[in-house]
């Protein structure tokens, strides 16, 4: 992937660039908003990571200008602000995802992966039938089967599975699940998400040889067909 980083904090920028390059991406960097906008408008990018507070041109203004010129490049906004409603402002300005500092690199990598692959996987928004190996989910009939056998799920488990299937093959973090499935943005002190996942795992993996729902240590979960 070709990724642009617009970040004025040198330490954060260098580490981010290094980590992304190690993950196999092509990385461009810009140190202020104006430079960032010029690069984003002239280079064919797969993704942009934009700090919210930037010299010369504010991060939000950058995203707005980019969207105003019709560019649909996925943008992840990094913010060091107070959060809560800043997230809403960030997404309204045209950002596709929003992450507050300090963040774990694993969280950021999971999110850019999800952003970049949004729409191009076989399990995109438009599909009513999602499929992974022998696991099938029908959004219209709300029916889930594995190897042709019907699996009973609660409404929330269904949503959770749908989200996981949409991101199959990717790492999905707990906060991504809390945001994507419940629409909440906070860190619960209790391992609420883990318990929901383990119930889902019970439902879809228990009676089958090959597990599909995997725990990715230090990051989150992944629904995939191997190991």
């Amino acid at each position: 992937m070709h990724i642009l980083i617009v970040e004025d904090d040198q330490i954060a920028r260098d580490y981010l660039a290094k980590a992304l390059r190690e993950a196999g991406h092509t990385v461009d960097v810009a140190v202020n908003g104006l430079e960032g906008l010029q690069l984003a408008s002239s280079v064919a990018l797969d993704l942009a990571i934009v700090d919210r507070m930037l010299p010369k041109l504010d991060g939000l203004a950058l995203v707005q200008s980019l969207r105003a010129t019709g560019r649909k490049t996925p943008v992840l906004i990094l913010s060091a602000l107070g959060e809560v409603d800043d997230r809403i402002t960030g997404l309204r300005a045209g950002g596709d995802d929003y992450l507050t500092k300090p963040y774990h690199m694993s969280e950021l990598l999971a999110r850019i992966d999800a952003l970049a692959r949004r729409g191009d996987s076989g399990n995109s928004e438009a599909n009513t039938k999602l499929k992974l190996a022998d696991l099938e989910l029908d959004r219209m009939t709300r029916r889930v089967t594995r190897n042709g056998k019907k699996i009973e799920l609660t409404a929330r488990e269904f949503q959770l599975l749908e989200f996981m299937m949409r991101h199959s093959g990717q790492v999905v973090t707990r906060t991504m699940l809390l945001e994507g499935v419940w629409d909440y943005h906070f860190d619960p002190q209790t391992n609420v998400i883990d318990v929901h996942i383990s119930r889902l795992r019970q439902a879809i993996d228990k009676d089958f040889d090959k597990p599909l729902l995997h725990t990715v240590r230090g990051a989150g979960y992944s629904l995939r067909e191997d190991e």
């Binding site: 904090d9 330490i11 954060a12 580490y15 981010l16 290094k18 980590a19 190690e22 507070m53 060091a80 602000l81 107070g82 959060e83 809560v84 409603d85 809403i88 507050t100 500092k101 300090p102 963040y103 774990h104 690199m105 929330r156 419940w182 909440y184 943005h185 906070f186 860190d187 619960p188 002190q189 209790t190 391992n191 609420v192 318990v195 929901h196 119930r199």
Partner: protein
Amino acid sequence: MVYSIAFALGAAALLGAVYFAVSQVVDGSTDNLIEAEVQGLHEQVLVLSRSDFIELIEQRSQDQDVRGAVYLMVDPQLRPVAGNVPAWPKIAANEGKWIQFKVSVPFGDETRDHEMRAQRFPLPGGYRMLVGHDVQERQDVKSLMMRGLIAAVVLTMLLGLGGGFWMGRRILAQAGAISAVAKQIMRGDLSQRLPVRDAEDEINTLAREINGMLDKIEQLTLGMRTVLDSAAHDLRTPLNRLQATAEAAMSQLAPASPERRVLERVTTEVDRMRSTLDALLRIALAETGTVAREPVDLSELVASMVELYAPVSEERGIRLESSVIPGVQVQGSRQLLAQALANLLDNAIKFTPEGGHIRVFLRQGSSGPEVIVEDDGPGIPADKREIVLGRRVRLDEARKLPGSGLGLSLVAAVTKLHGARLVLDDAGPGLRVALKF
């Protein structure tokens, strides 16, 4: 209302006084005329013969110049001898000096009873004399005036009431508008200003002064928000560098090396600082009231939070029960309300022993919707309930448990932001926390 009645009464008193004075003058002038005539006739009767006196009376009776003057002379048997009154009025002899009686007088084709006012006096030889005046006109004037005055009083009262009502309405309308705006401002929309009319009356002056105050408050609040944002930025940026540096170093180290374990402790501390910072910033944000508000479906929120926490409590052997009435909406921040509820549920799970219960209610209280979280943990002693709402208070018994100690402070700040009341109570046993909207 009271003012308009007082106003009408005042007007009635004033007009009554006018009526009284005018009647005095009108009555007095006729009475003086009659007195003078009686005086004159007394003198005449002494010098004139009876026939000359009769002649004089007849003459005066016919005199058209003296309009309304009436005379009657009767013999001892009360038969009329001279004058323009048909008969001696049937009035008791013991009446006072002045008498009033009615006489039919021609009025166009008909006759009409006219009010007469007169004095009687004896004449020599048992004859009697009556001298008076037609006061019908005077009566007419007086009753006309009375009617006019009553009409004036009624009109004044109506005007007073109407005017009072109108002014009252105007003031009430403005007060209503002010209170509506004040409510919006209390809910945190600091850009609102009280409606001000051009008038220089007290209420508008007051509204203008309050608006000036609001300008100041808005400035201060925005200033606080700016300070908060820069504080957030200045704390998050180094934390982010710390995290990045530690992660970068860790990636170079073998998974189980002692150095890596040290760095893992560093990142754990960064996480902890981050969640404390998040909590503090959210509290500060809620307290400055600068959070964006939107309609929040409280029923959906409570139900989904219960649903989110149900599996984890079940896993810990705690029964999470709930009863949620549908369709409750409040204005506020869904995320902050969710965070507050999450803190309460985290706490409840933390303090409820295995086999215990947690009950969550959304119900209609006496003043509005109430969210209640009850557990059967140790509860909080009554004398410490005030203290735990303060910042960073953790009771001794809780020190061994994880947490920042900011949970309830955040709940308190979020509750206040939503104009609700936070009530800690004994659930007997356990703690009952109620958010009363």
